[in-house]
Amino acid sequence: MLYSVRSKLIASLLGVALLVGSVSLFTGVHLLKTHVIDEATNRVRLDLNTALEMYQARIKNMRTALSITTLGSGFMDALANRNQSDLVYRLGRMAHHAELDFAGIVTGDGQVLCRIGPHAMMSAAAVDNPIWKLALERKAPVDGTVVLTREMLVAEDPELAERARIPLRARAESTQAAGDDEISGLALAAGIPVFKDNAVLGVLYGGKLLNRDDTLVDTVRDTVFLGETYKGHNIGTATIFLNDLRIATNVLTPDGKRAIGTRVSTEVGNTVLTKGQPWTGRAFVVSDWYIAAYTPLEDIFGRRVGMLYVGVVEEKYSNIQSQALTVFILITAAGMLLAVGFGFLLANLIMGPVHRLIKASRQVSEGSLHPDIGPIQKGEFGRLQKTFAEMVEAMGRRRAASESKIIQSEKQASVGRLAAGVAHEINNPLTGVLTYTHMLLRRKDIDAEMRNDLETIAAATERVRKIVKGLLDFSRQTKLDPEPTDVNRLIGGTVALLENQALVKGVAIKFIEGEKLPLVILDRSQMQSVLMNLIINALDATQPGGSIKIYSASGLSGNGASQKGVEITVADTGSGIHPEDMDKLFDPFFTTKAVGQGTGLGLSVSQGIVQRHGGHIRVQSELGKGTRFFVWLPIEKQAGSYEDTRG
């Protein structure tokens, strides 16, 4: 079962499917990983730029609002007249429209004239705000990021100072103690100096505290990431840092609160705050992995005071990867399943006809000559089917032939047995009839008529004798069992049987094979007896030290007919044959050996066998030098060539 074509086919297909599947899986996942993550990183970098733009735009808006206020009708007069109540009204309106957390007006000599909030009319300015201070110094509009100390915030509005306070939380991955609360504030601010006669009349300033102010980060999130969510959470996040501390963020802690008061990782802090370089990459933010980008924020004095961050949850992308991986695995598995299915189908397709042929062969071996080989297919298999059918047909023909041959030979055998019996029984009385007829014919006292009758009886008896002889000859034919034979092999085998005997006697025996001999149709065992008889005779005639050579060659019959055949020569260096014995050689009762010493069948029997094969035996001999026997056999037996030379 394990070695069946089906399992081999399935295994191969499965192997291919597995190979292709796993290669595409690995390359696909690899490509996806680099491309998706790269794409996400690039996107986040761009998103950070957008966020920074929005941050800057916020500042510009603020500055524009302040500028418009300075250009408002009556503002200059109110400032020049130090009309506090008018100015406070104007400030209030401006702060409301521009969503400012603090705003105020400072005189040209650095006294706070008025501001929004609870300390609106307090003229004594305990603390300087860096934004108006720089605008006064530069005598030019100033805007940007500023860090406000608690004192500054309290001076503006004690409530702001309270909002700015951020209790520190322990970083998730840090063992560091939480430390003191952050009490400074990070603010966007602008200051516009107002001039009269080339002298600074005063500075209008205003700003927005970023601590705990979600509007900017949420706007970034909603604008840049369009509120895209993943598993119920926004995938995009934005954060504003004061130094390394989150003061405004929509990154959530595991309990779902904004992660204000947590610090950035040391690695990011070092790169962005200390070295002043932007940072992009995979980062662990608060409690999750993000693809993140950070950029430093500088204040109006060019000091790095914080960072801006945007990031997307990495899980979404890694999920795409794992989804792709799953899809790839599924495809591979489906491919393998298909391979198994195809394997089965293909195996059935291929093996179906094979099984049918196997079944057909079985039918043939069980005796059927008309096996069902199914419809003839195209291609190689069709050829196999046709060849098989031809083979079966040939077998049928041969069987029919051999059956008729068997029937024929059985018929012959039974006729032979009958003939033998009849011959034996008839020949005895026939002897009497012949004898008495001839004895009567010898008598002188019979008349002519009786003599005539007796001669008729003798002639009729002769006819009967001939008929019986014909029957006997016919019965003898059945004893031949001819088949196509390689003469060289037959001689080789016979010589091998007698080599020991020759060795014992000290006679060298050698067979010189003729090349390219045709097959001869002969009765192997009878012809072997003939060869054996000839070689044994040669051995008996040869003295120790002599030699016997056997040759085989193609040769013509030579007696006028020139029929094609094979000639076998047995040559010895023995005593030779007396010339007067030559013609008696094939008489069954002629022997030069002592009575009872002859072995095997006599030369007469050998001659009978050869003649019944349609061949003949010749002898050449020279006294004292040696004898050569030539056995010539026709390649194709000629019809009616069987002869019996016995009387």
Binding site: G432, L434, P588, F589, T591, S604, G608, R646
Partner: protein, 125 residues
């Protein structure tokens, strides 16, 4: 000259007797191998010639030849058979038969064989 003829068929025995007697031979007849052996044993002088059939009931001609060979009897043997085969002829030759004649035969054929064997013996002796 005496000749012992052995055959189980009376007609053959009689035929042989008539043919051989016509040429002056003294014919002794035996209807079976056992009878022939008895005659050979009891006969005062060794018989010079023996004409025998091969196929006979109880013991056949081959057996008779074997017995003669074993006993070392000097007798010229002629074998006759109604069913001559290579094997029969070869065996007969091996057992020392001088010649062979197929049944049926004409008186001339039998006489020629027997007389040639008898003469051969004469010249030899």
């Amino acid at each position: 000259m005496k000749i012992l003829v052995v055959d189980d068929e009376g007609i053959v025995l009689d035929s042989c007797r008539r043919i051989l007697a016509s040429e002056g031979l003294e014919v002794i007849m035996a209807g079976s191998v056992d009878e022939a052996l008895k005659i050979l044993e009891q006969h005062p002088r060794p018989l010079p010639l023996l004409l025998m059939d091969v196929k006979m009931p109880v013991h056949d001609g081959m057996y008779l030849m074997q017995q003669i060979k074993e006993k070392g009897l000097e007798i010229k043997m002629i074998v006759m058979s109604g069913y001559p085969t290579d094997e029969t002829i070869a065996r007969a030759a091996k057992l020392g038969a001088a010649t062979f004649i197929a049944k049926p035969f004409t008186p001339e054929e039998l006489l020629e064989k027997v007389l040639s064997v008898a003469r051969k013996g004469d010249s030899h002796e």
